[in-house]
């Protein structure tokens, strides 16, 4: 599993770690049942605090992407399949945004806005 962080970026480190996992799930590089490396090992490899990694795993758990299993550590949850399923839709959305000359940040803002807006149906 590839994890990349940039300590100088504005996003919190734990969010960046969680994003690495989310991206792998979206690309189906990680599928349900795959084991995540231990938080201690990730912390050592990235030279960050253990609690930062634990916080990232906790966030993923709250989203339902990851389950904690006794003796097996953090495992990708069945819900991940739904995320991977969205990948095609996301690709279409990005293509449409490019057509309109919008950058990724603008697209993300639009998606956030849509998620916040009350449902009108």
């Amino acid at each position: 599993m590839l994890i990349r962080i940039d300590p100088t970026a504005e996003t919190d480190l734990y969010e960046q770690i969680a994003d690495s996992v989310r991206e792998d799930v979206a690309a189906a590089r990680l599928v349900a049942g795959d084991r995540l490396p231990s938080a201690r090992e990730v912390a050592q490899a990235l030279d960050v605090n253990l609690h930062t990694v634990l916080k990232a795993y906790q966030a993923l758990r709250e989203e339902g992407l990851v389950e904690m299993r006794r003796g097996r550590g953090a495992v990708i949850a069945p819900m991940s399949a739904a995320v991977a399923e969205l990948a095609a839709d996301a690709g279409a959305l990005v293509a449409r945004a490019r057509e309109l000359g919008l950058g990724t940040e603008a697209l993300i803002a639009a998606v956030r806005q849509a998620a916040r807006a009350p449902r009108d149906t």
Binding site: M1, L2, I3, R4, I5, D6, P7, T8, P37, E41, V42, Q44, A45, L46, D47
Partner: protein, 339 residues
């Protein structure tokens, strides 16, 4: 890896075929013919096993020619055969020279053992005892193996070049890490597990027979094989700013290549038997391999020129990470020089 200094390709291959396929075929052919001439009745009972106090196992006579065929021709042909395709492709390595020699040696061993054992029992004039048969067979196998090695041209290492992998683009402050596992192929894993179960069963059975010495030995062997199997089954792999760490799930063996010692990284298609003389943790001239299956592997060349090869599904990603780590190290060193 250059084409300018290539051995005459067909001579190397021809010698390998002679030594690794033709010699075993001739030897086993002659051995089986001799045995068939000596044995009157293929169904007659012959001694097939000797214990410390003399013969203690019997079987039908046809066991001997069958053993000669399997051990003297089939097994050696598989060994030698594994070297033929790489040789024909133009690959060269001491392993590819060793495989045919080993095949000739094995063929000699089995042919001599089986024929000697038959002749001590049914031959008209040859009754040297099984001890002499063993000594002669192993001696002959050693000599033939050596001659078979010497009869082949020496081979400088030419292995398929690793495909270079572009380093992962990373910002100056970005930190990259790849954490994962290298695992045994499914078939090999199943074979190892069944071997362990079989050995454990054998150990239990010998204890039940109350043969304490045999039981102690089989138990010891079972534990040893289980430990070795455990040590060779799963490896934890980590590529980060410090370099590459590969550690068996049981803690040993482990390999560490510091980032500063990485000269180049790439992805290579590895064939265990032909390139490393087998599977598992292999140390051969010029390379160390953690070879858990055939196929895609990560190749890291150290500053000394020594290669480290690890079979890994996602070798390309790991190579890209190590490439980026190496680049940032080089950049860091340059910055330090300027200060």
């Amino acid at each position: 890896m250059s084409d300018t200094h290539r051995n005459p390709a067909d001579r190397v291959l021809r010698r390998a075929v002679d030594v690794g396929l033709l010699v075993p075929a001739l030897l086993t052919g002659a051995a089986i013919a001799l045995q068939l001439v000596a044995i009157d009745d293929l169904a007659q009972q012959l001694v097939t096993h000797w214990g410390p106090e003399g013969p203690d196992g019997y079987g039908p006579a046809w066991v001997y020619p069958v053993m000669t065929l399997l051990g003297g021709l089939v097994l050696p042909s598989l060994l030698a055969g594994s070297a033929m395709r790489p040789l024909a492709r133009g690959e060269r390595s001491p392993m590819l020279r060793l495989m045919p020699a080993l095949a000739a040696s094995l063929a000699t061993l089995f042919s001599a053992l089986a024929t000697g054992m038959v002749l001590t029992q049914v031959g008209p004039s040859f009754d040297a005892g099984v001890g002499w048969v063993l000594a002669l067979a192993f001696g002959a196998a050693g000599v033939v193996g050596w001659v078979a090695w010497a009869a082949q041209p020496s081979q400088d290492v030419i292995v398929p070049a690793a495909l270079p992998v572009d380093a992962l683009g990373a910002g100056p402050h970005e930190r990259l890490a790849w954490i994962g596992r290298a695992e045994l192929g499914k078939g090999a894993g199943a074979a190892l597990v069944s071997a362990c179960v079989l050995l454990a069963g054998l150990a239990v059975w010998t204890w039940a027979l109350a043969d304490v010495v045999a039981a102690a030995i089989t138990t010891g062997v079972a534990i040893l094989v289980a430990l070795l199997a455990a040590a060779m089954t799963v490896f934890h792999v980590r590529a980060d700013r410090t370099g590459l760490t590969v550690r068996s799930a049981v803690g040993f063996p482990r390999f560490t290549i510091p980032a500063a010692d990485i000269a180049s990284v790439g992805v290579i298609d590895v064939a265990g038997l032909a390139h490393f003389g087998g599977w598992g943790v292999r140390v051969i001239p010029g390379a160390t391999g953690v070879i858990l299956r055939n196929g895609t592997a990560l190749e890291v060349t150290r500053g000394s020129g020594r290669r480290f090869v690890l079979t890994l599904d996602d070798a390309a990603t790991v190579a890209a990470v190590l490439g980026a780590v190496r680049a940032s190290q080089a950049g860091g060193a340059r910055d330090a020089d300027q200060d």
